[in-house]
Symmetry: C2
Subunit: 698 residues, 2 copies
């Protein structure tokens, strides 16, 4: 699944830049709504529809009530962003405040409700039409990123408003920038003790998820939580910090070898972790979570936590405990681009919401990296907050051998479902059936569910026929836009699975009739790019943006391009998008590639209104055997392929392929056959014959 | 000539990042001293030696006198950087204050003399040994960029010193950072009214150069100064500025179609320009220059300036005039990374040195982009300084058709000298002569001098035999390190010429005996990289860093690398290094490549103590004819080769070359033969035969 390349929302309220794991933009959801995204594939069309009803939309009376509460809180404006307290790519429905309050269902947007200046909704060009349809009266669409349109922060500064936020759903970096900007113009930022939207939403608000946790087997995790906690603690103490605040959900899950189901597609659970030291200086972790998710007394999850020495505290206690640690003089390491403003204020000012001594919101202003907290008289330590990139992000991205084995195994299992699926689809189309995109996506899920250890899709399946294939983050939903697959269809299928052992993500493009010359030339250019990246050799530490060129060059050579990155990091039995690296032209992602990271390789080409092409395998970055070694301290790296499914030969223009490229294709197909054939079952005789044919040498 | 990849000096006193033209690091001079660099090739060894005597070295008495003056000026420390007032890559000898005061002759370094804490010299790893040899007693070497070694600014902050600078030789950006840092710790920055080193250096100091100017023919310039001035004025008024301050010497020369000879290799002259408007609003330019350089009354240069409506004012009047403009309420556009701190203060505070009302240095502090000048009561305009990248930089980099024709012509002329040179060298070596690197460099100059319109080398010739070839910015000087060229030599020759019509820069690597297998494999990988970049097609606006991968990939594939960028911008009959673009892995250079820029393509490989390989042609970026066009608003671009000289075939490993690559080499050689053969003269019969043989199909 390709990473979203859509514009960032606004400088102040946007999701973070990609170097941080939680900052990966809402890729899957980009061209559809989060509400739809969350509901797909794991449910039938009926229950998906039911899901759509759950978020609902604020009435005029709700908005009037909200404005009354704003007056009581003495604020002129209230920002309602898309973010949840963990800055997640996907969040549970009960966090969909911006969607509920504005009625706008797009994945990216920020609402600002004012007492006297109406209500405004910022989104980007992908969503202008949708927003105009969905926003009610009294709402103004702010066309983000268009020339002359101010950002949220710029607009608030122009009006110099007293602006309220829920400090849990803004990052510390964004909150600081807002506070500084508003202070400069005579406005102010008010960190509210309660979320006003929740108060109005009331009983109609979906409940928070309470899915039980499961232990991620050490066989696939490869390292105990205790060992991870110890090495991370050593790392932060080496940088002068006494404790580490972990708020990204995939980081918590990876750290504790636990998986949850609070959010679809991402096996995570609502929680925080603080790594600190006990009185003897031993590293310990405290998990902040709703206790019910741990199961009954003596459950495997409770036993696991106890064995690993992990303390458990209520989810809601995290901010207060952080303030307490800071007050006790412990320097806390945290990433201002990941932790919420609430945590930042708790560390720097001891601010806790709701503070027992006062229910009145405090006024913030003049915050910045150098000066933050300077004015606080009751500050205990000279440096309460040690700002750093989360060390968990890189530790998680560099997989150990068990995680890599798990990824290899997950892909081998997945390849069986893929072979069965594409064979089945070919038979169906040949028989004249006109199954649509939704129907084939559901069948693909059924086939994956037959695989051992399958849990759920790793993202909503993108099955895009013809023109729908050109919508990069298309996702079929029942209705007039959902196209049938016929003998003339060119089809792009991007899908993946969460398994007990690993995570998959694969795209193939196939044609059921006779592809045009242009389709073949474009497909072959995309494949050449894929092959070039797969064969690339590069020094350890090279930033992914330099590798993007390998995949893009053959597409450029035809005068074409694709508006997304070539690859993203992939978690091991974890989120399908993870940082801190990527292989993309975004200059903000400068993390060097290291041995044992896992990434996708997915160049593409999209012709609006006509067809879409993408060719995606995942790969492990591993040491390359080279003829020479330039620097004894720097290894050469290359790609070890993980994904095993044939490439449709009718889409090839042989004249564009070099001898080496043809050899690569033949070798790949030989490996596919050797690896997958043995995993097919007796009843798969036709699949086996199909696979053998598809894997024959060119 | 490859761009220097050595470490920047220190964050505070370093030369700028490469996006600015003047910021290109001292590439040629990197591995040798500026003193030596300036003297090379245009002079005999004798006169070079004479040059070396000119800078001299401060005596203990000089330093004692300097410290006395520092006490009088009430400062604890004095910074003496390498920079001149134009932040030039090369500067005249009379600006070599850091070299004179410290005795250290390396190209990169910053001296700090203190009253009570001794004297310190910061340089980087390339120069540690040299500096230890050259620095006198009382000097401490600060190993810049080494772990734990503070930068100049950090050291001054640690000591909280009252620090003096000559504000003319620090950029505004650096001066601000220094002032802010020192203010934070209770030190202060003092912008001195006079340069204290000059006062001590006295009559021993070399005189400033007074070389006469010449008019750069409109036939090669392609656009009148009046037209350039008008479009630049329109550009800055569109950004809210009333005047533009141009301080980089190549920008002044390009703007006014004038060339000078104040500095070797770069056809520039010491000067500033202010573009502003007269009372009728017509764009005008004022040139600040020593009047004697314009020649006698009625000279072509004076007639040219008059015809173009350019006013002339004394060089020394520039800072005062800028202060006057700012005081009159004119907003001045300037680039804080290019203009000196003196100009910045003149614009923001009306500070002029020497100020008539006081000779006492003023204390500066708490400067930064947002707050600078805030406290000045007598500030006339709300925004006296409009900060922007110099618009001249990009205008100069995008050549017009006359400039491109001039570059093509210069390279054709140059190719005759190259053919004669490499033929001559082959004959000499075969005859058993043992000419050394200096001797062959001087003969190459003699051959270039036979070409019409030749003016001078565009940089000191790098002729590196065997191990010397591995020193990336090697430059031969007479002595024990200067190697002979024999039948076993592998030789790298990087050289170029300034012509009336254009500028050249070419590298070839040749072997006079039998190259080893490793040499052939490395050379072929480098050539493959060169070919890949030459054939690359990419969208207009792609940053050069993405193209660096094309050239580096085949070298990476062998497990090798090279520690310099693949290409730099080249001026048209102007400096051989220019910005704002480059083709290099430096993430700071993000300028997109545009049609009609001129760059070098020079991958390499260097084996310490053994041999060096570099393959360099220049090219024009031009529109590519592609099969499709992705975005009607974005052209595809590719390279038009400028340099015509054969590639030595004995260095090729044919097994590494694809069919396409062999076809590229054959086509290139056919073009070399067709273009160069007709320019050879009757006496070149042997050269012609040699060239035909070298250009035969593989």
């Amino acid at each position: 699944m390709s990473k979203d390349s859509g514009p960032d929302l606004t400088p102040t309220i946007r999701r973070h830049d990609p170097p941080q794991a939680s900052s990966l933009l809402p890729a899957i959801a980009a061209a559809t709504s989060r509400r739809c995204v969350i509901s797909t594939a794991v449910t039938s069309s009926e229950s998906r529809h039911a899901d759509e009803m759950m978020v609902g939309k604020a009435t005029d009376a709700d908005l009037a009530k909200l404005r009354e509460m704003m007056k009581e809180a003495d604020i002129d404006a209230l920002i309602v962003p898309s973010e949840d307290p963990h800055m997640s790519e996907y969040a549970p429905l009960f966090q969909s405040r911006r969607e509920w309050v504005s009625g706008f269902t797009g994945s990216a947007g920020t609402a600002v409700i004012t007492v006297d200046h109406g209500a405004l909704l910022w989104t980007d060009g992908r969503y202008f039409n949708q927003a105009l349809k969905e926003l009610g009266e009294g709402w103004t669409l702010m066309r983000g990123m268009e020339p002359g349109v101010p950002t949220v922060r710029e607009w608030l500064m122009k009006e110099a408003l007293r602006t309220g936020i829920d400090p849990l759903v803004h990052t510390l970096a964004d909150g600081r920038a807002l506070a500084k900007g508003l202070d400069e113009v005579g406005g102010s930022l008010v960190a509210l003790p309660d979320n006003l939207v929740d108060a109005v939403w009331g009983t109609a608000r979906p409940p928070p998820p309470l899915a039980p946790l499961r232990v991620h087997d050490l066989m696939w995790a490869g390292e105990t939580p205790r060992a991870k906690i110890e090495r991370l603690h050593a790392e932060i103490t080496g940088k002068g910090a006494g404790a580490l605040l972990v708020t990204a959900l995939d980081e918590v899950g990876w750290l504790l070898n636990l998986r949850g189901a609070d959010v679809d597609f991402n096996p995570v659970f609502l929680s925080y972790v603080i790594i600190s030291a006990d009185v003897e200086g031993t590293a310990i972790a405290t998990l902040y979570i709703d206790d019910i998710k741990l199961g009954p007394a003596g459950s495997p999850v409770r036993a696991h936590l106890e064995a690993e020495g992990v303390r458990v505290r209520p989810y809601e206690a995290a901010v207060g405990d952080v303030a307490g640690l800071a007050a006790a003089g412990v320097s806390l390491a945290a990433d201002p681009k990941k932790v919420s403003y609430a945590f930042g204020r708790a560390i720097e000012d001891g601010w806790v919401s709701p503070a027992p001594e006062t229910k009145r919101a405090r006024v913030d202003g003049d915050e910045n990296a150098a000066g933050a907290g300077k004015k606080q008289a009751n500050k205990k330590a000279p440096k309460a907050l040690i700002e750093m990139d989360s060390p968990v992000t890189l530790a998680k991205a560099i997989k150990n051998s068990c995680e890599l084995d798990g990824m290899r195994e997950a892909h081998l299992r997945d390849s069986v479902a893929l072979a069965r699926f594409f064979h089945w689809l070919e038979v169906q189309v040949a028989a004249g059936s006109s199954l649509d995109e939704v129907a084939i996506s559901e069948h693909l899920l059924v086939l994956r569910q037959r695989n051992a250890g399958f849990i759920e899709p790793s993202f909503p399946t993108i099955a895009g026929a013809d023109a729908n294939g050109a919508v990069i983050h298309y996702r079929p939903i029942p209705g007039p836009d959902c196209l049938p697959i016929t003998k003339d269809t060119m089809l792009l299928v991007d899908s993946g699975g969460q398994y007990d052992c690993g995570t998959t993500d694969v795209t193939r493009t196939v044609h059921f009739g006779t592809p045009s010359e242009k389709q073949r030339r474009c497909f072959t250019a995309v494949l050449k790019g894929h092959i070039a990246l797969d064969r690339a050799v590069f020094p350890s530490g090279t930033a992914g943006l330099f590798l993007d060129t390998f995949a893009r060059a053959p597409v450029w050579a035809l005068g074409l391009n694709y508006r997304h990155g070539t690859g993203h990091g992939v978690g091991a039995a974890m989120n399908v998008h993870e940082g801190p690296m990527s292989i993309s032209p975004r200059l903000t992602v400068t993390q060097g590639l290291k041995e044992h990271m896992v990434c996708s390789n997915e160049p593409g080409y999209y012709e609006d209104g006509a067809f879409g092409i993408r060719m995606e395998n995942l790969f492990i970055i591993r040491k390359a055997d080279t003829e020479f070694q330039f620097d004894p301290a720097v290894n050469s790296l290359t790609c070890e392929n993980l994904t095993w499914h044939p490439i449709q030969r009718k889409l090839l223009d042989r004249s564009m392929l070099s001898t080496d490229e043809i050899a690569w294709i033949d070798r790949y197909h030989r490996q596919v056959w050797e690896k997958v054939e043995g995993r097919l079952e007796a009843e798969d005789a036709e699949v086996r014959a199909w696979l053998e044919r598809e894997c024959a040498a060119l």
